[in-house]
């Protein structure tokens, strides 16, 4: 037991705390990344405390206030800060509750895609041969279709809805992880610490999961962040096309879909949900850029 543990210990950094410090040092150099992280934390807080922050429940309709403009415009009132939608629901409250869906979508999709991608990538890169060929051909196949089209078709098979949309998006995003893990595993497999662990008697599972995988994490984290924002965009697009979350769910893309016919009459019903999507995705992409700078030593030096 103790013998096999030598390899990963030696490969990792001697002191976890110093590692984190260096990481934060390089991450915080990137001002955009810090701003992105700050916005992201705010979004998480907004999602967590939506019931406390939102002035109204997301599905309460006020029959006296259809399409009320935002507070600063003529006809608006502080009662509804960002105005109301065509059936008299408070847009601000719906946006706050909507943050829950977007973050949930991102988290679930990335978890599913990561799990699938890591498993397949490890198997392909570690065993090579026909396992590799079979897995990678299927991944190529998934990438041969435009992602949104494949997600649309998947949802047609599974039936519209938020959960099925998440499954479809995870399937579409998963090949990127599999390719990344496979490439990293192939690069690491012949390194000395892996050979040492093998000689020490480590089995296939131990070699794959405990020895090799931790050393492939950096690109996975970066890809995971980018997929998080991609998942939010694709889920919103599916919602917009009527195949994602179904009304009256306050998901941002779905909100946009039901606001579409009012665009020339009430700009705010369209503007705010989209702005929420843009801000969320932008914040996560900023964090992703910062992570790449901080985790990828090759780019760091340039």
């Amino acid at each position: 037991m103790s013998q096999t543990e030598i390899a990963p210990m030696a490969a990792g950094s001697p002191d976890r705390l110093t590692g984190l410090k260096t990481f934060w040092h390089y991450f915080s150099v990137n001002r955009g990344a810090v701003i992105g992280l700050f916005v992201f934390v705010l979004l998480v807080l907004a999602a967590l405390f939506a019931p406390l922050l939102a002035p109204y429940a997301p599905d309460v309709q006020d029959k006296t206030a259809f399409l009320r403009p935002p507070a600063w415009q003529d006809g608006g009132s502080t009662q509804y800060l960002l105005g109301t939608d065509p059936v008299g629901r408070d847009i601000l409250s719906r946006l706050l509750y909507g943050a829950r869906f977007s973050l949930l979508i991102g988290a679930v999709v990335v978890t599913l895609a990561l799990t699938g991608g890591i498993t397949l990538g490890l198997l392909a890169g570690y065993f090579r041969g026909w396992v590799d060929v079979a897995i990678m051909r299927v991944m190529d196949l998934i990438l041969a279709f435009p992602s949104l089209l494949l997600a649309l078709v998947m949802v047609t098979i599974l039936g519209p809805g938020l959960f099925n949309a998440m499954l479809a998006i995870a399937l579409v995003l998963q090949p990127h992880f599999a390719r990344l893990v496979r490439a990293a595993v192939m690069a690491e497999k012949s390194r000395e610490y892996v050979v040492a662990a093998k000689v020490a008697g480590a089995g296939h599972f131990r070699l794959m999961l405990a020895t090799i995988l931790p050393n492939c994490l950096a690109p996975l984290i970066v890809q995971g962040t980018l997929s998080f924002s991609n998942a939010i965009l694709e889920a919103a697009a599916l919602g917009f096309l009527g195949l994602g979350a179904q009304p009256p769910t306050p998901e941002w893309g779905t909100m946009l879909a039901s606001a579409r016919e009012f665009i020339l009459r009430a700009w705010w019903v369209v503007t705010f949900p989209g702005l929420a999507i843009l801000i969320t995705v932008l914040a996560i992409n900023l964090v992703g850029d910062g992570l790449r700078d901080a985790l990828d030593p090759k780019l760091r030096r340039s």
Binding site: S147, L149, A236
Partner: protein
């Protein structure tokens, strides 16, 4: 060169088989009975049901069904649309030029702005231009384009009244399509007013569809240029006393464009995915909107064949990009 090309084509065969399996499986994976699903909301009589079952071969073993399907596809039989009763291939042929024209202009828009902007940002690295360009590119990259399209409609069509909201051309202009590309057709007929109408319809969808490729191309050009500017041969060129414009425009740019071409090729799939959203927003009569409408109409024959045809288009374009890539990069050809 020929060997390289043959090699690339050979690699496509498993994907080709996979794509047909996917399209074949799609109808059979739909919940419920495939014939009932394809018949749509009207349903069928039991006699007609048996007839259809025979006709589609659902009583055969699954392998024979697949062989039959491949046989049909190879001979160009993609079925008949349930809703319009027209052959799917014929519909595809009339709608595809619309998507191609829109994608072409979107790509030109993205390249004309993206490449020079990326070069300039790399040359002036760290300047306010560089920083604001990279910031803008990240915003563009994060853009939900369906929302972006709606915003542009609110501003340019609603507020300013400059551009039309939907379609490819004003209804008063009517002519028989020659190429299917309206910009070309109107010029062939020499109808200037119609040509202007086509351009006015093209502007907003082009911007919407071109936004993400523009952001990606600008970022990629900048980083490729930065890498090349640090190379020895660039330093040598400068040391020889060549003008800065010549060093950047000739020595550096040629090499920097190689990864940019790859990026442009990779955008084809993104472009088609974007076309689904852009065409839906602007009621653009292309294949993206066709797919979305067929899904909502439950016209599964169209969805099945559309899926296959679109995947074939993506494959063909990727092959063309691979060839172009070999033409501009001699190192690939030799290998």
């Amino acid at each position: 060169m020929l060997r390289y090309l043959l090699n690339k084509i050979a690699l496509l065969i498993p994907t080709l088989v996979g794509i047909t399996i996917c399209a074949f499986a799609f109808v059979r994976l739909l919940p419920g009975d495939p014939i009932l699903a394809m018949a749509g909301e009207h349903g069928v009589t039991p006699a007609r049901y048996e007839e259809l079952k025979q006709q589609f071969g659902y009583n055969l073993p699954i392998w024979e069904q697949y062989a039959r399907y491949v046989g049909e596809v190879v001979t160009g039989d993609f079925g008949v649309s349930i809703s319009s009763k027209r052959p799917v291939l014929e519909e595809f042929k009339t709608l595809f030029p619309a998507t191609l024209e829109l994608s072409f202009f979107a790509m030109i828009f993205a390249m004309i702005i993206g490449i020079p902007a990326g070069i300039f940002a790399a040359v002036k690295r760290g300047s306010w231009f560089d920083q604001s360009l990279m910031g803008t590119a990240l915003v563009g990259y994060s853009m939900p384009i369906f929302w972006w399209g709606l915003l542009l409609i609110i501003f340019f069509s609603g507020y300013l009244g400059w551009t039309p909201v939907n379609g490819r051309i004003d209804l008063q202009y009517f002519f028989k399509p020659i190429t299917g590309f309206m910009t070309v057709d109107t010029l062939i007929y020499g109808k200037w007013a119609a040509f202007r109408s086509v351009l006015r319809h093209l502007v907003l969808p082009t911007i919407v569809l071109g936004t993400i490729p523009l952001a990606v191309i600008a970022r990629q050009t900048r980083s490729a240029m930065l890498e090349v500017l640090g190379e020895d041969y660039v330093r040598t060129a400068r040391a020889k006393g060549l003008s800065s414009a010549r060093v950047i425009g000739v020595h550096a740019l040629r090499n920097a464009l190689i990864p940019v071409v790859t990026t442009i090729g990779l955008q084809v799939s993104t472009l088609l995915a974007g076309a689904i959203l852009t065409e839906t927003i602007f009621s653009w009569p292309g294949i993206g909107r066709w797919m979305v409408e067929s899904i909502s109409k439950r016209d599964y024959v169209v969805v099945q064949s559309g899926l296959l045809l679109i995947a074939l288009v993506v494959m063909a374009v990727n092959l063309i990009v691979d060839v172009l890539y070999a033409v501009i990069n001699p190192r690939i050809r030799a290998a």
